[in-house]
């Protein structure tokens, strides 16, 4: 499936900004099952410096600075992504990996091949997923038992979060601690992903955070998916001998063609789409909108899909 994605972020500054330094992680990945056909990033005003690099996690980081006085910053990322998840290896067809129990996985994680060594850091607490408490562990242990398949338990964890947690954009923000989310059982995709990751780590499984986009309008006859704000997020668990397996607890399904991957990291902190330091004294207003349309050249019959969300802070 071919998608056109326009991710538009606008900051309006009451007092104007003399200059700013920014970091953006907006470029969709070019990986097996997801081909990035084109990508451009339009920034106004024109940045004085601009560079791109691959970070520690393998995400593309764009850095730019604006040195002229401005009252509005606009960052528009336009991508054309060709998604074909069938090309990815599917754990469903790897019976051995699918059957690995928690016990067996933990044993395999003591190994030292490169993939395992790298995965081991995702067993640990991270900037936003820290102080994993007993409540989270207890929630995890309802699904995870020593001799139960990790794949099965992860699937169930995804379903339980979908059932137990209420999707609500009013109660949390990026810095809401996981201990609060597990208590209130309300939040957005980012919270659900992080809760799932905390659960997996509480039973010593490597789990990472995946950020990206989701197409929310389905083909006729299928259920509508829920997206939160600009970006979507879900989680991934590492199963030795196989690799990373993604789950979307917000929509209770394994990501397929409607999920587009931008970045992965230990938690949201590693993959925030846009952040910056600026020099100003006034308030700012943020507007984010994401527009995902199946490319008409390929899907002429599908309705246009457009979603606009606004968020103010």
């Amino acid at each position: 499936m071919l998608f056109d994605i326009i991710h538009d972020t606008t900051y309006k500054y009451e007092e104007g900004v003399t200059f700013c330094h920014n970091i953006a992680i907006l470029k969709p990945k070019d990986i097996l099952g997801q081909k990035l056909d084109s990508y451009e990033l339009n920034i106004t005003p024109e940045p004085a410096s601009f560079s791109e690099r691959t970070d520690y996690f393998g995400n593309t980081i764009t850095r730019f600075s604006i040195q002229s006085y401005h009252k509005e910053l606009k960052v528009i990322a336009k991508s054309k992504v060709n998604r074909s998840f069938e090309k990815e290896r599917q754990i469903e067809s790897d019976d051995k990996a699918k059957a690995l129990t928690l016990n067996e996985v933990c044993e395999l994680l003591k190994g030292v091949d490169d993939a395992v060594l790298d995965a081991r850091q995702y067993q640990l607490e991270s900037v936003l997923i820290n102080k994993i408490d007993d409540k989270i562990k207890a929630y995890a242990e309802e699904s995870f038992q020593q001799d139960r398949s990790v794949y099965e338990a992860s699937y169930e964890l995804m379903q339980r979060i979908y059932d137990d947690f209420e999707f609500n954009t009013e109660v949390t923000n990026v810095a809401t601690p996981i201990s609060e989310v597990i208590k209130n059982k309300k939040g957005v995709c980012q919270d659900f992903a992080q809760i799932a990751i905390a659960c997996l780590r509480s039973v010593n499984l490597p789990a990472r955070y995946v950020s990206g986009y989701i197409e929310t309008l389905p083909p006729p006859g299928e259920e509508k998916l829920i997206g939160t704000d600009a970006s979507h997020a879900w989680f991934s668990v590492f199963i030795p001998t196989f690799g990373w397996v993604d789950f979307d607890p917000t929509n209770n399904q394994k990501p397929k063609n409607q999920h587009i991957v931008v970045a992965w990291g230990r938690d949201y902190y590693d993959v925030a789409p846009l952040k910056g330091v600026l020099f100003s004294s006034g308030k700012s207003e943020l507007t984010v909108s994401v527009d995902i349309r199946p490319d008409p050249s390929e899907n002429t019959l599908l309705n246009l899909n457009q979603q606009q969300q606004q968020q103010q802070q």
Partner: protein, 851 residues
């Protein structure tokens, strides 16, 4: 030799436990110390006590301080240096030095590897969690390569003597190690005062180390930079070792800057100086890793420079030590160090380390959990102030909590054997007694290896029985002597300051923060002097009143009191609502205006503001300045606003304050160069004095009084202006308004006249560096020129014309008001041109994330 024959050391060995530096296990005196013992014996107990007091005095005099967090005394706790040094013979030191060099090389390779190939992990030398679980592992620094030969440029090893008599590594400090400045100041102090102790003892000097240190900084500059611009980045005056930051800036001759003095632009780091932006090549930082770049690291840090890390990545600046070096301050590495050493060098570690068990390994964890009470447990990345558990002192409950924590996050903890380190002689209350010591050593990268300072900084436990040694707890320090059998050169000041490649800082390069502080120092100092003198005049008038019963006396008093409120802007005071009550007991209000530091406009508050802005400039201080500064603080310390003081008592305080402030002003003029920013100070000082003189005149002499009252007002005005004698000399006549105005306002050559002050401000502003954007300065110049032209062309007679009711001099008031406005506008323009901090650094996304 026997200790009993030495009076001062009597009782030293009475309850010795563990290894002692002075007394060997066979109860013989360590012969390295005999000469010092003899020297101590020959100067005698009295003299030694005297010597210690002199050292204390010198340290206080020189303003050597160490700030202790959460200490009610706040800033400026005097640094304590014990008269008795710590000693090691060169022969032993050479072995230690080699061991430190080996460890520095090793840590350098670990640092390079962990942000590079990570072979230590891939080749299974170190489990990955030793790094991954350490908060100092900054993924943002991954794969950065440097132009310097070494990644680790400064290394500080803490060493202590273990029970086996060898020196052990206790800690590694690699982010921004502090202490070398204190070590040097300790050496200066002992050399200056305790030369009798040095008699026939040859102590190695750190001069060549500091020369190497400077060379390292110069060579650290990105390639192709010849005369590099080097700055020292400090978190600011509230940091515990701010003294040292200022001290090193002074010693090495580099600007001391705070984060907001620097900015990233066009791919480089720039310093905001008076003239504009100046490119920076090397940052010697005293700010911890995560604080240096709010863009990529700790987002709410105000101590760093946004975008710095990207400039580092592109090799357009060198940060010393590199950002991310905190990862090797890692006690989780200890159990693997020997294996790492063999991996890289095919040899064993030379210096022993404390036996440690990293809880990330199953066998080790089980062992620790079983024997936990024997151990000291800490986080592998503990900073100084958290998560250090002396398990033997913990309750059962606390042990259980700790154990659960270890089981939950095993990779995070390391258990270390509890070691009783050696004790060394320490002078304490007329006795010499054994105290535990820890030595901090310093190394810097040099050509192909590391240069180690001979000696270092020795810290002493605060109690005889105390096991822990830490400056945070207010410990004592010692000079560290590496003694040689050969004669050594005496320490020389500034020998490392080889002129090659170094140039003095000129005013163009003055960091704008420092310039702003100089400006405000001038303003506060001016305000303090004028306020003190005026308050003194008011108090003296109260004093005179009791010998006088004339009506006009109480009138003149009322006028003076009202003027006090006016010039200090402490309304309502003697003027606004409730002033009648206040006027009934004027002493209470005057005392409050002197002593109440919570009151804005009071003298105490002005002095405190002066104190604060001046303290941030301490790299410009001369020792004489510190002494006078300190004497003002001492003078004020016994005064308490809740007590009642007599008029005489308050006058005495003001007298002393004024003479010390004047002495201080004199010292500033002779100790700071115009190019160092004296000009900016002068502008601040003159502006404040001028504006207060205008305020005085406006509240006292624009009104018309009857003759007697007029006389008394003029006398008080001249008095408060310290100009009565000059007036008599100049006019030799009865006090008359026109002559007073001619002297205090219009005189062109009298330094205290308003006209002269305006002229001086104008001249100084014209000497300021021309900034990149010149408009602000041009406008500033035009305002002050207008003000000067105005005052310079005044006709006295016309100025003093009375209104039709004969009560008020409208022209005079209008002129003063215009002068006051122009002066105010000039000050604002100057601030916005040169000290523009109005735009605050903020986060685009406001969030509180702790990393």
């Amino acid at each position: 030799m026997n200790l009993d024959s030495n009076d001062i050391f009597k009782g030293y060995g009475d309850d010795l436990k563990g290894y002692d530096e002075l007394i060997n296990t066979d109860l013989k005196i360590n012969e390295n110390w005999t000469r010092l013992l003899d020297n101590v014996q020959s100067i005698g107990a009295e003299e030694l006590d005297q010597l210690q007091s002199e050292i204390d005095w010198l340290m206080a005099e020189n303003g050597v301080t160490y700030n202790v967090y959460n200490d009610p005394n706040g800033l400026n706790r005097p640094w304590q240096l014990n008269a008795i040094p710590f000693m090691i013979h060169e022969k032993e030191w050479n072995v230690i030095e080699k061991g430190i060099q080996q460890r520095a090389e090793l840590l350098n390779l670990i640092l390079k590897d962990i942000y590079g190939e990570r072979k230590l992990i891939k080749d299974k030398i170190v489990p990955p969690e030793v790094f991954y679980e350490h908060r100092g592992f900054l993924r943002q620094c991954d794969q950065i390569t440097y132009t310097t030969a070494k990644n680790l440029l400064i290394y500080s090893a803490e060493i202590s003597r273990g029970p086996d008599g060898r020196m052990w590594i206790v800690n590694d400090r690699t982010q921004a190690p502090s202490g070398m400045g204190y070590a040097l100041e300790n050496r200066f102090a002992t050399s200056r005062i305790a030369s009798d102790l040095f008699q026939d003892i040859h102590v190695k000097q750190p001069s060549s180390f500091f020369s190497d240190f400077n060379k390292m900084l110069v060579q650290a500059a990105p390639s192709n930079v010849e005369n590099p611009n080097i700055v020292i980045l400090t978190p600011g005056p509230h940091n515990e070792t701010y003294f040292e930051h200022a001290y090193l800036a002074n010693l090495l001759g580099y600007p001391l800057v705070k984060g907001n003095d620097l900015l990233v632009r066009d791919g480089f780091v720039w310093m905001k100086s008076l003239q504009g932006l100046k490119k920076v090549d090397v940052i010697l930082r005293r700010v911890d890793d995560v604080f240096v770049d709010p863009l990529e690291l700790k987002e709410d840090s105000f101590l760093g420079v946004a975008g710095l890390l990207e400039v580092v990545r592109n090799n357009n600046i060198t940060v010393v030590n590199p950002v991310g070096s905190g990862i090797i301050e890692n006690s989780g590495l200890v159990p693997f160090m020997n294996a790492i050493c063999n991996y890289f060098f095919d040899e064993d570690l030379m210096l022993p380390q404390i036996a440690s068990w990293w809880c990330g390994q199953e066998k080790e964890r089980k062992h620790v959990l079983k024997n936990i009470k024997k151990y000291v447990v800490k986080r592998i990345d503990r900073s100084n102030r958290e998560s250090l558990y002396f398990c033997e002192f913990l309750s059962e409950d606390e042990i259980d909590i700790l154990k659960a924590e270890i089981v939950k996050n095993p990779y995070r903890f390391v258990a270390q054997e509890k070691i009783s380190f050696s004790s060394a002689p320490n002078y304490s209350e007329k006795n010499i007694e054994p105290r535990k010591v820890v030595c901090r050593t310093f190394s810097v990268a040099k050509d192909s290896g590391y240069s180690v300072m001979p000696g270092g900084l020795v810290r002493v436990a605060s109690e005889r029985k105390e096991l822990r040694v830490s400056n945070q707890r207010g410990g004592v320090s010692k000079d560290f002597w590496v003694i040689s059998d050969k004669k050594q050169e005496n320490i020389q000041q500034y020998t490392w300051n080889n002129s090659k490649g170094l140039k003095a800082i000129d005013m163009n390069d003055l960091p704008s923060n420092m310039a702003e502080n100089l400006f405000w120092s001038g303003r506060y100092l001016g305000r303090a002097v004028v306020t003190s003198r005026f308050l003194r005049t008011a108090l003296s008038s109260i004093n005179n009143q009791q010998y006088n019963t004339r009506k006009s006396d109480s009138e003149v008093l009322t006028l003076l009191f009202k003027a006090v409120t006016n010039i200090t802007s402490t309304f309502p005071g003697f003027i606004g609502e409730g002033s009648e009550e206040v006027l009934k007991n004027p002493l209470k209000e005057l005392q409050s205006l002197i002593l109440d530091r919570d009151r804005i406009g009071s003298l105490a508050q002005t002095l405190e503001s002066f104190n604060n802005s001046y303290y941030t400039l301490r790299n410009l201080w001369s020792k004489d300045m510190w002494r006078v500064f300190d004497s003002i603080k001492k003078l004020w310390s016994p005064y308490d606003k809740s007590k009642k003081y007599s008029v005489q008592g308050l006058i005495k305080l003001l007298d002393k304050t004024i003479s010390r402030l004047i002495a201080f002003m004199g010292l500033i003029e002779e100790s700071i160069m115009v190019d160092q920013g004296l000009l900016v100070y002068f502008i601040g000082l003159q502006m404040e004095q001028a504006s207060m003189n205008i305020a005085k005149s406006r509240s006292l002499i624009v009104f018309n009084y009857e003759e007697q009252l007029n006389y008394e007002v003029l006398e008080a005005l001249l008095n408060s202006h310290e100009s009565l004698n000059i007036y008599r000399y100049s006019y030799q006549s009865y006090l008359g308004l026109e002559n007073v105005v001619k002297l205090l306002i219009l005189d062109k050559s009298y330094a205290k006249s308003l006209c002269y002050q305006f002229n001086r401000i104008k001249k100084d502003i014209y000497r300021l560096p021309i900034p990149e954007k010149e408009e602000g300065l041009i406008e500033c110049k035009s305002k002050i020129t207008k003000a000067f032209e105005l005052i310079n062309n005044i006709d006295a007679e016309e100025l003093l014309v009375l209104n039709t009711e004969n009560t008020f001099r409208e022209n005079f008031e209008a002129t003063l008001s215009e002068l006051s406005d122009l002066l105010h506008e000039t000050a604002i323009l100057m601030s916005s041109t040169y000290f523009d901090h109005s735009f605050q650094q903020t986060q685009m996304v406001q969030q509180k994330i702790e990393i």
